[in-house]
Symmetry: C2
Subunit: 344 residues, 2 copies
């Protein structure tokens, strides 16, 4: 394994004092990049995800073209329901669809929890190939969905404004919900460990729908499983937790074994530092819509954001995935502004 | 005007000590009620909104059938874009659609700001008729959308996951955005005053999409206009502000001229009381999805919620609109649990 030439991300996760924070963007390997669109026009979603050469090419695009300080493997959180035996359909431009959803004890019992590494071998191959192609330029991030978010899709079968069917499942049959969450957790731990073995330098756990839960329900249906994953995986590599919308959980999660905590843009840096007692590396939290504004405004706002977070224990990122309609030079302006910090 | 037999809501907004809090539910006159569905099957959305007899009948249904302590007039926040000259289409089961959206100075200048009372005469007629039919049983709530939320629809033309076009408009042309927000504010103030004159005992301002804004942008594009409305209208009747998702604004808004502040379910009662220094009446914040759970659980959670908020300066409500798939007896269990508080 080649030595990393740019290890800013890993040093930020260790809490080292840095000249400037590392920067990457959620969904950086995605639809705002014309070269990604070219690949998308030729291959359907799961072909892109399941063909290591394509996943690698897509993963590398923003490193070469936008200059981010980390690569995140091109994949999808819904490979876990697939590995557990559920069909996942993804039509371009529409959300995901799981034709068979999970409702009964028999449905939960039927879910497969073994051989994750073999079932998702194409992800590990893509990680290994990307690692090789990166040749130490920047660290490689692996990822998975959090158990609550995966449960949402397994029960609901698709995206939702309120995920009320998923919540109804949890509220009416909490024992079965916990059984399902535990199965997803077990698989996710195996999966993240395999990703690290294959070359991921750090892993992020996306709890995209945790903000739908009240603070009390988050503590019941989301937090325990995030902590289990963090505890099991952080021995192998640093873990970043991103429970989107769950600002109320930041204090608790800052005391966990995780090295990083992702934030959306509804939290001020000052408030986030206060809640987390400056004890964990924070990642975020630029409003993705701000990248649609003028470049001078982007640069000014990035500087203000770093001024407020500081350069220690901080990873510059968006507060959610980059939007498909962001011009590439605006994305680049965001990255450049972070890189120029402290140079002016 | 007949004396109110049940004035719990108004006393709660005044901060009086009460035996139990008043209770109503956002979207209580809506799709979970079979009698509403019957009317919906006969008349399209704007016929229901624009025919005072139908709006009144729909408004009264939850008073008679679910037993809430307040009526809220059946209408829609998008009557304001209509009154300002924009066409609004609403197809059943789909979201709203504004075929002509607002982008340029000319678009903003073309918006009508006069004669709101005449343009929305059917709302005032529905309020007057409902007031008469209520015959003092419970107070009547009027409402409007907040300027930021109305801007979202005017610019975007429809619902959105991120309202990034609306934000882009604000970030790239803030002067024009403020001009638009001010026009909407002026119209909304006239509209709410007219509603009070027509019979509304209190009014609520729904900022349904304020939670999409960062704390800094909320202070620029949402808060000043909420405060203007509150200041202008609260001389005439108590104002309730509901900036959904904007937990970060609670402290500031608690110092405003508003009498009440709506909360979604991501805030604990303890945290909300702390942020607002117990200086304003809080309204909320039951997770609407919880009404899909078992009745004993609903009743238990309602009791816990009131225990935490207390009976002073508190209005029991959901944290967002009631879901269409809630069984009526579950909605009734929610209301009954509030009414039974302190009786057991």
């Amino acid at each position: 394994m080649s030595q990393l030439k740019n290890d800013l991300l890993l040093r930020a996760l260790k809490g080292e004092e840095l000249e400037r924070p590392p920067v990457w963007m959620m969904r950086q390997a995605g639809r705002y990049l014309p070269d990604y669109i070219k690949i998308r026009n030729k291959y359907d979603f799961f072909t892109r995800v399941e063909t290591p050469e394509l996943a690698t090419e897509i993963t590398l695009q923003p490193i070469d073209q936008v200059g981010v300080d980390a690569a995140i493997i091109f994949s999808d959180i819904l490979v876990i329901p697939q590995a557990m035996g559920l069909q996942v359909l993804l039509e371009e431009g529409k959300g995901p669809l799981l034709p068979k959803t999970v409702h009964t004890q028999a449905d939960v019992d039927a879910l497969i929890t073994t051989d994750v590494e073999e079932r998702l071998h194409y992800v590990m191959k893509a990680l290994a190939l990307t690692k090789q192609e990166l040749n130490g330029r920047v660290p490689l991030i692996g990822f998975a969905g959090a158990p609550w978010t995966i449960l949402c899709y397994m029960v609901e079968g698709k995206g939702s404004k309120s995920f009320d069917k998923a919540k109804q499942f949890c509220f009416t049959n909490p024992a079965l919900a916990h059984r399902l969450l535990q199965k997803i957790t077990d698989v996710t731990i195996q999966y993240l460990k395999a990703q690290i073995k294959a070359g991921a330098d750090t892993v992020q756990v996306f709890d995209s729908w945790s903000g739908m839960l009240s603070p009390a329900d988050f503590k019941i249906f989301a937090q325990p499983y995030l902590l289990q994953i963090s505890d099991a995986v952080s021995e192998h590599a640093p873990v970043i937790l991103f429970p989107k919308g769950s600002w109320y959980a930041m204090s608790d999660l800052s005391k966990s074994s995780a090295s990083g905590l992702g934030l959306d843009w509804t939290v001020t840096p000052q408030q986030a530092r206060k809640w987390t007692n400056s004890s964990i590396t924070l990642q975020g939290n630029f409003d993705p819509s701000k990248l649609l504004g003028p470049i001078p405004e982007i640069k000014k706002s990035v500087k203000e954001m770093i001024d407020a977070f500081g350069t220690k224990n901080y990873i510059a990122n968006l507060g959610h995935g980059i939007l498909p309609n962001v011009p590439v030079d605006h994305a680049k302006a965001f990255v450049d502004a972070v890189k120029e910090y402290n140079k002016v």
